[in-house]
């Protein structure tokens, strides 16, 4: 497991949750706050091991719930369900394609809030729901979809900047060496 990558993903999750609670210009413009944790989970599930996915679901969910009126721990399972499924079937996903990332981001951003609301309703809570929630759901889905390729680009840049680069092979091959004799 690449520890640096895991730490980087968790640090971004921490900042994402704090940013969602601090900056509310999207809420003013569009009437909904975009949640970037599902998009981050798509990246983690496609590029890291299940341990990182689990850590992201647990810590990201706990951080989110700590700043929200959600019961603590309610966001863990929806995040993990999405991350686990993508991680489990990632060999069958064309993860290098931007369009595939976009679609996965949209699906994850659409599924996570629905699962969270279902869990809240199951737990007997009464969240603020109405016809406007549909618009919020579209905004969250669209925002998450747009953010997923951007997150891939951001992490790609970080890996190029801070990660070890594989050494380029030289063109020299011992079996193709021309040994010159006396003649």
């Amino acid at each position: 497991m690449n520890v640096f990558q895991t730490i980087l993903i968790l640090a971004v999750a921490f900042l994402v949750v704090f940013g969602e609670a601090t900056f509310s210009f999207l809420r003013h413009w569009l009437g909904a706050q975009v949640d970037l944790l599902p998009a981050l989970m798509v990246y983690a599930a496609l590029n890291t091991e299940i341990v990182t996915v689990s850590l992201l679901a647990v810590l990201g969910g706990l951080w989110f719930d700590a700043l929200s009126a959600n019961p603590l721990g309610i966001s863990i399972l929806p995040l993990y369900a999405v991350g686990f499924l993508i991680c489990y079937r990632r060999d069958m996903i064309l993860r290098e394609l931007s369009f595939a990332r976009l679609v996965l981001g949209a699906m994850a951003s659409a599924v996570v809030p629905v699962l969270s609301l279902l869990l809240l309703l199951t737990a007997g809570k009464q969240p603020l729901l109405g016809w406007g929630s549909l618009w919020q759901w579209f905004v969250m889905t669209g925002g998450g979809a747009a953010a997923t390729p951007l997150l891939f680009a951001l992490f790609g840049w970080c890996h190029r900047a801070f990660g070890y680069q594989p050494l380029a092979e030289t063109s020299f091959r011992p079996d193709r060496e021309i040994r010159r004799g006396r003649l």
């Binding site: 609670a21 509310s24 299940i50 969910g61 706990l62 719930d65 929200s68 686990f84 489990y88 809030p113």
Partner: protein, 267 residues
Amino acid sequence: MFRKKHYVALGAVTLLAVLILSLPPRAAARFKLAMGSWFLPLFGLANTAQQLPADLADSVLPRRELLHQIDWLRRTNELLQVQALQGAAILRENDQLHLLLGWQRQAPWKLRLANVVLRDPANWWRTVQIDLGSRDGLRENLPVVTADGLVGRVAAVGVTRSQVVLIGDPNCRVSAVVDNPARDTGIIGMGGPIETTLVDLTYLSGSANLKPGQGVFTSGLGGVFPRGIPIGQVVDARPVEFGLYTQARVKLGVNLGALEQVWVLFP
């Protein structure tokens, strides 16, 4: 395809989530505050970031404009001082009347200013966090107001910050009275998920005669909010449940989307 590692992780995370969700309320609240305290170092950073544009705007403000604002503030201050004197005289007169009639005297409010530092990241709750906590004497269920009216109540208290549940959230019900001859009383309930300026006033009597523009105030019933805090104005009303009771829409006096500073009321 069987991947043992995946299933072990799935079981562990599910078990952990179920354990956290089944914590007793007090332990869950403490755990939540502990998780929230991870963000403490970032609060200062956020305040600085939010303050920076205002500081920049102040630094480029012309001196003439500043002098004009000082003059305006001075005149407003004098006017408010005169009004305060008048208010104090009315209060004394009111106290004397209360004494004569043997009514219980309403204690004056003690106020404490707080900054709004965070908003709820989830779209289905309407809460904010303020930078006052138990070390400042805050406790649960204290009313929170601005000069424009009621904001909400303190729902959870940490050492240095507290969560305020705003009016219109399902967890903030307020007993309210309409400023009309019949003094119709109802409950301020939920608002819409997007529209933060309108809330429902429910359980008004079926014969309630509401007109647009009538003021809505806290009734003092319920023991959380003192009587007489302005909430907003009636927009419209309609009978519901086959005329059994009336429901009205109330436009809030406070702009909940632009809260920066609030006052916490101490009894």
